[in-house]
């Protein structure tokens, strides 16, 4: 059974357990390092898109984007994606199917927290390999594209954290669906498909037809990727950035609440088959 922290004592116990959880997460990331490198390499889409759009921009800029702007845009995309990536939906679906979720439920800590610790603990290793290269390339190839506004720079880390939380919470919500039916991964595929188009992963969102802009901005997807990237490159104004920040965190909170509800409902049906 899931044990939610009920009083101060539980909360303190959870806080005490966190460093250990981080250490475990980091060790397991280290143990599966070859798998990690594969995951990192698999995030190559921004690079393919970079090649594609710069090839197109050779004959002249598209909207605000010339060769340099595209280069900076997709390198920033790569960085944000590496920092905010999560895979908890696969983990959950596998654990539910194989019944190993029971092990996680036995621990006196909310499973969402242990998933989060696993994910966050792996970030340093992910970052270690990919980030220096991407950040270096970004400064060399598109240094002058980066914003010089300190306020925007202050927003960047908060927006990246929010993007991670939003991705993670959405994955938790979709992963919790695995407790109800088998095809939760298909739902995630749907999310991923929409993400590709509407998050700015394949192209800067402003290049989409104007009629779509309102719909896209109301969806959660731009806040997962496009918003931190745009802020980093100074493509949006301060007021726009603040508004986006609010929407991003609202979405994150909303998905987290949804995930908690689905999880609690779904757990009643979980019978730990196998295990």
């Amino acid at each position: 059974m899931a044990t939610e922290p009920r009083d101060g004592g539980d909360l303190r116990r959870t806080a005490r357990a966190l460093p250990t959880l981080f250490r475990i997460g980091f060790s397991s990331a280290l143990a599966y390092r070859s798998e990690f490198i594969v995951w990192i390499l698999a995030t190559n889409m921004p690079l393919v898109m970079l090649l594609l759009w710069t090839a197109v921009a050779k004959d002249g800029p598209i909207g605000r984007f010339g060769e340099k702007e595209f280069t900076a845009y997709f390198l920033a995309t790569l960085i944000v994606r590496q920092l905010t990536g999560s895979w908890v939906v696969w983990e959950m679906s596998m654990e539910v199917r194989q019944g190993t979720l029971a092990m996680r439920l036995l621990r006196p800590i909310h499973p969402f927290l242990s998933y989060a610790a696993d994910n966050l603990a792996a970030l340093p290793l992910r970052g270690l390999v990919a980030l220096p290269i991407a950040v270096g390339a970004l400064f060399c190839a598109g240094g002058e594209q980066l914003t010089k506004d300190p306020v925007l720079w202050a927003i960047v880390p908060v927006s990246i954290l929010g993007a991670w939380l939003l991705t993670f919470a959405a994955m938790l919500a979709i992963g919790s669906l695995a407790l109800f039916f088998e095809s939760s991964l298909a739902v995630y595929d749907m999310w991923l498909g929409l993400f590709f188009i509407f998050s700015g992963y394949l192209m800067p969102l402003e290049l989409l037809p104007k009629e779509l802009h309102a719909v896209v901005n109301a969806s959660p997807f731009p806040y997962v990727l496009s918003f931190p990237v745009q802020t980093m490159l100074g493509l949006s104004s301060r007021s726009e950035a603040f508004a986006s920040l609010g929407i991003e965190w609202l979405y994150a909170a909303g998905f987290l609440a949804l995930a908690l509800v689905l999880w609690r409902q779904g757990l009643r049906r979980f019978a730990a088959y196998g295990g």
Binding site: Y32, S34, E35, V38, W39, L41, A42, T43, N44, M45, V48, M49, L51, L52, A55, V56, D59, I62, S183, A186, D189, M190, G193, L194, F196, I197, L202, M203, L207, L208, P209
Partner: protein, 266 residues
Amino acid sequence: MRRYLRLLGVQLRASALLAMQYRLDFLLDAVMGVFWTASALVPLLVLFSQRKNVAGWTWPEALLVVSWFTLLKGVLDGAIQPSLANVVEHIRKGTLDFILLKPVDAQFMVSTSRFEPWKATDVVGGLGLLAFALQRIKSSGGHLPGPGDAGTAALLLVGAVVILYSIWILVVALAFYVVKVDNLSYLFSSIYDAARWPSSVFRGVVAFVFTFLIPLTVMTTYPALALLGRLEPWKGAAAVLGAFAFAFVARRVWLTAIGKYTSAGG
């Protein structure tokens, strides 16, 4: 030979029966197929709304590449990926021994162990796109493929399937050494995604890699060029020959790898 054909029949029937159990998956796969194809078209649409011509390709011509990409993806996801993902699972659990014990060629056995017929929706989608692209080329007065061009394209399709299969066999052979390679398939799909763009977009080192090391160019751009009547015959011949050479190498590697295999004690 007859025995192997009969065995293939049995395996196909088993897969078909399994697929019939999950009929709802058909609907899901069909919807997802359409959805993914459509989502893949969005950047292309945006691109060609800005330009008439990208890296030497017009909109319907680029669509030919996408249609070939979708078609091949259907083959990959329906006939190649499922069985070989199975093998990786077998290796990890140690149950591969049961297959190795059977008095037939192990590579044949594992390569035919699972088909997912519902994934054929992508093949249908690819053919639909192909028809649409050809119709657009016709209405703009472009070159329509003659029987020779179509024959070359079909040969290249065979070559592409052989290459895809060989790459997969190499990945599986790797699983004998490092065991945890289920996400290598993910890596491969993510690289294969680049094949939906005409290869002239890529330059320098990347162009070299995509032509010779991971021959995406050969798989989708060459057939499209053949249909447009723009592929030099020697390139087509080299591509097909290369594909079979690749398959030969993959077979050698598989045999070496399986020779080194020391069961996980299933």
